[in-house]
Symmetry: C2
Subunit: 97 residues, 2 copies
Amino acid sequence: MATPDAVFKALADPTRREILRLLRSGPRSSGDIAAQFDSAWPTISRHLAVLRDAELVTAERNGSTILYELDTTVFQETVEHFLNWLNPGGSHGKRRS
Amino acid sequence: MATPDAVFKALADPTRREILRLLRSGPRSSGDIAAQFDSAWPTISRHLAVLRDAELVTAERNGSTILYELDTTVFQETVEHFLNWLNPGGSHGKRRS
DNA sequence: GAGCTAATAAGCTAATAAGCTAATTATTTC
DNA sequence: GAAATAATTAGCTTATTAGCTTATTAGCTC
């Protein structure tokens, strides 16, 4: 399992969140993703590595390209766990002691 | 509203998450919080400032001390918003419902 | 106001992370 | 195997952040 550190840190960058958003519509290749941004290709590649480490995306080679795919399970588990951890007895809605 | 940047960045540090955990049991003074950690007092004070900026805690002066209190609403809103944003058609609460 | 305590701000150092360009590793194609 | 394309890794620079120590602000007590 990815650590909360890795997950939250990965999400703290707007470019990376934008990459995740881009992947909502389906898997895309690294180059395809990089083409959507102004940053240089290697820069996006490194962002993708951070997202991979955090297990927010999965990468799979498909012939000559590598397809990245959104995976929200780790995020959801991290958040759920963290909410329970923060507010053990409580409701999930609003804080209400 | 605190930006997602601020919220996720604040949560990316284990010391800060531990501070939040500590505040589950109720409001505490800065000094009281700092006493629970090995780090120097000003260091914890700065972590608290980061948490304040992210609106994950609220600070209220109470006589000579300042009381910090956990506030989970921003976190919950950020996460909820982000999940919807990520997974527009999908379920929000629990994955697989 | 002087003295005391609680907390933050300022200033510094070391480590981490983002961005670039150039070089390297895979994979397909000829 | 050489050439071409896709993607990552390496190396560098700059900016941010965590940690410390010292200095300053805010409130209380006398």
